[in-house]
Symmetry: C2
Subunit: 532 residues, 2 copies
């Protein structure tokens, strides 16, 4: 058996059986081995950013890491931005990067570059097998490292997928082709830590005390069990509960206790946290502004608020901690959430930033996976409009590196073939990884992409205004303007093999969205948004 | 004046007046300043890999660096692959990367990452201004560093653009908005070194001696003056002359002395260099294989060949060295190259890897800039077919990171608006940076893109066969197959605002190519290649 086969079989032995690939010469033995081990599903992506984003979406939904197969330093480079998002999402991902043969490195041939340095910017674990004997153990260690903050035991899709890390295994071409050792067996991942009874009691004293308290919950705490525990605490004590603006994965919809995402803008967060005397972190980090602005603090906790690290990071079992807290302060049965209000009837009118989300909210199917890269188009409208929709999961833009929507949707659809995937995708960001549509078409994935086309980088127009750019003229504004020429996303989609339509009114969007959900395979709807 | 304006004005004072931009919040002051300094042309790119590739193409043709404007670590990450190619091309590029405010770094906000480490993988110079007083001097130093291996004095488009480097300036947002010092004046770039008279004499002795000698020429040696000098040496002494497989910039066509590119495959190079007793490097590196293969040497110089570093690297004045050698061994007038043969008449037949290049060769307009990312489709056919075409420049894939063609063509067209640009683009690689077509449309650039659509990553199919993958089955082969579904590049182009047609025969390609060259603005022709 050659080294590539040892690697592949060790991945399989460790539960990794999907590989999002954009291979090159140095990965050719791995590719050749795929036909001898059909349990590994190779998925071709036409750009590495699609492969890494798909691996992120796959693991967010399955709780199991996928592998990526990337070609040398430039291949990794093209995948870095979505690995950045995966890192911020605590998603387990196992990158396999083919490198030149060991003897070839010193020749500095055209594709040579510092893979290790680039990989370290997104990975919590980077290793190169040094000899053939290392390949199996190092591959098993890569998977274990990707999962090491995850819950132990078999994967539980309702709770996992948001507490892992990015591992990178760099594999020299000669190690791939040389004779190697047998594959390594499964290596246990590091189990999550638990909070102590004393920490639960101390937190219980806070939330039942006289001062105003809020929970900030992230990770697996945003699964249904976590949200139910938080709802019990809230009902018994009046404690507020928030989550990050764009969490990695959040359960929502009718029957699911709601949680309030922190606003994108620091001012909004300031209003949300005003008067809170204790902010309790539950698998979440202390909230910070995405960007600094002159004279404004970057740390968003109000000056008088004390911060408590009850569940300090993603390496802890967030659901168990929340449940223990709920059992302490609110023993007894779980309250039944009130039945949702019927959504208001849709009025047919031109599509705008204000109304498109109501169409989606009214028609969202049961158990949809909503990939949200709507950015400005959905910032204030999507969550209210979908609060009482059928139960669903939302996957957010954790690292703010745009271009993850289409790939993450592809990966989520591969992980959950029985669930409909709805990708809400801003126009400017869509272009970063547009070839992910082709992978959706080849794999016949049930993804409905809605392009929210406002023909601009709207968020940058707003940022320019914030920095006093009102005096800015046409040269500046041209750099946010996606018209001249207008981009026709229906042409782009059909060019990639994805059927596409265009909607300009709420009625058109409703009709096309329903039709897309009914028909198998991927579809794209270009929603033309009028200026608000 | 704020820091962003100091930076912008220092760039202008140092001769940088084009900025390929994909900005974000942290670059907003630079954007706002564009309207106060209209001498700086801001060009919007919808993906950072387009911005960096365009900067590469711009400088290869103008000899002057362009700036890129990139947003934090993920923005740089998306641009790295084409910066890798620029580094391998010795192209001067000045990256301006906006970073978080200095006080915001420690908060580890969502977009935070290690910009410096990623930048170092492609840059010969990376610096952060520490205080406002540093902005002007550091910006001037960035431009000087990008040009430091270049010829001194005003840019000479016939000789420069292939001996610079990538500089990266990382600019904290607060330095951009704070009051700053005046811009810094132009900083002189380091002049190129010269070879000594003794080195010329020693090399002259070799080329006039009894043993078989070959020159391997790169950099400015592949300009018209360099090639004429090489032709004089060749004619007087019988010395062979080669260039790299895909040089950064090579002058070719009727009246230009020809030079033989080394083959892509090691076996081909072995045949080319067989019997050569002395290989003289003239601004070139010793040839190495792109990839290692079991049991084959990576260094391509035959065992018995002695290597001489006459002009050891791109920091030397290659043209002067070649001219001095020519004057020594072949004094007197420059020989006139023979008139080219008339091209054979075109036969109308289905397009294939064999015949498409003959159409381009027959119709190539005067002073075309040919951006060559045809890879397997043109590997053995493009250079023979264009040897006697009208004089033109060819820009090659120096770093083998695919996806540079469309962006490099955009940058070259901006640098040389009076010259037609012909982009010969493989299908798989085109998708990496397809949104560069939109920038071509917005800027109304005279680029004719010919997509060479063989519906596969053909080079990988060949590589699989080389590694003994003939036993490989459908799972492996699916990873190189770009059909299922077929990609419709005419849809992709029209979706980006570029008029497009499809050609299946040599007559159709000829007609559409001539029409595209005549009409202003960008055009795309999808050439459907039948299997050979």
């Amino acid at each position: 058996m050659n080294g590539a086969e040892t690697l592949l079989r060790t991945l399989l032995a460790n539960g990794v059986d999907v590989c999002f690939a954009n291979p090159g010469t140095s990965e050719m033995r791995f590719v050749a081995a795929l036909d001898r081990h059909r349990a590994m599903r190779g998925v071709l992506c036409l750009f590495e950013g699609v492969a890494t984003g798909a691996a992120d979406g796959y693991a967010r939904m399955s709780g199991r890491p996928a592998a990526t197969l990337l070609h040398l330093g430039p291949g990794l480079a093209n995948g870095l931005a979505n690995l950045h998002n995966a890192r911020r999402a605590h998603t387990p991902v196992v990158n396999v990067i083919g490198d030149h043969a060991r003897s070839h490195k010193e020749l500095d041939s055209p594709l040579e570059s510092d893979i290790d340095a680039a990989a370290a910017t997104v990975s919590s674990w980077v290793r190169r097998p040094v000899t053939s004997a290392d390949i199996g153990p190092d591959t098993a260690a890569a998977v274990a490292a990707a999962l090491s903050a995850d819950v132990p035991g078999p994967p539980d899709p309702s709770r996992t997928g948001t507490s892992g890390a990015v591992s990178t295994l760099i594999m020299a071409a000669d190690l791939s082709w040389e004779e190697s050792a047998p594959p390594a067996p499964r290596l246990p991942a590091l189990p999550p830590r638990s909070v102590t009874r004393a920490e639960v009691e101390a937190t219980a004293a806070l939330v039942t005390g006289p001062e105003r308290v809020a929970l900030l919950i992230d990770g697996a705490g945003l699964s249904e069990p976590g949200l139910h525990a938080a709802a019990r605490i809230r009902k018994a004590t009046g404690t507020a509960a928030f989550c990050p603006t764009w969490p990695a994965r959040l359960r929502r919809g009718a029957g699911v206790p709601q949680i309030v995402p922190l606003g994108y803008r620091a001012e909004a967060v300031g209003r949300q946290l005003a008067g809170i005397e204790h902010l309790i972190l539950v698998g979440a980090r202390e909230p910070v502004a995405s960007f600094a602005y002159p004279g404004r603090p970057g740390m968003l906790t109000p000056p008088g608020t004390r911060v408590h690290r009850f569940v300090p990071d993603a390496g802890f079992d967030v659901v168990d901690a929340l449940s223990a807290l709920a059992d302490t302060v609110a023993p007894g049965p779980v309250p039944t959430p009130p039945a949702p209000d019927a959504p208001p009837p849709l009025v047919n009118e031109p599509l705008s930033t204000e109304n498109w989300a109501q169409v989606i909210g009214a028609l969202l199917p049961q158990e949809a996976i909503v990939v949200d890269e709507s950015i400005t188009a959905g910032m204030n409208t999507l969550f209210p409009a979908t609060a009482d929709s059928a139960p669903h999961d939302v996957l957010g833009l954790t690292g703010l590196a745009i271009g993850q929507g289409i790939p993450v949707a592809a990966g989520a659809a591969l992980a959950c073939p029985e669930r409909p995937v709805v990708c809400l995708q801003a126009d400017g960001s869509a272009l970063y990884t547009i070839s992910g549509l082709w992978t959706q078409a080849r794999e016949k994935l049930d993804v409905t992409t809605v392009i929210l086309n406002n023909r601009s980088y709207a968020i940058l127009r707003a940022e320019l205004d914030r920095v006093g750019g009102s005096a800015a003229g046409p040269a500046a504004r041209a750099l946010f303007d996606l018209s001249r020429p207008d981009i026709d996303f229906t042409s782009l989609a059909t060019g990639m093999g994805v059927p596409a339509t265009r909607a300009a009114s709420t009625a058109e969007l409703a009709e096309q969205f329903s039709a897309a959900l009914t028909a198998p395979g991927p579809h794209l709807i270009e929603a033309i948004l009028q200026p608000a």
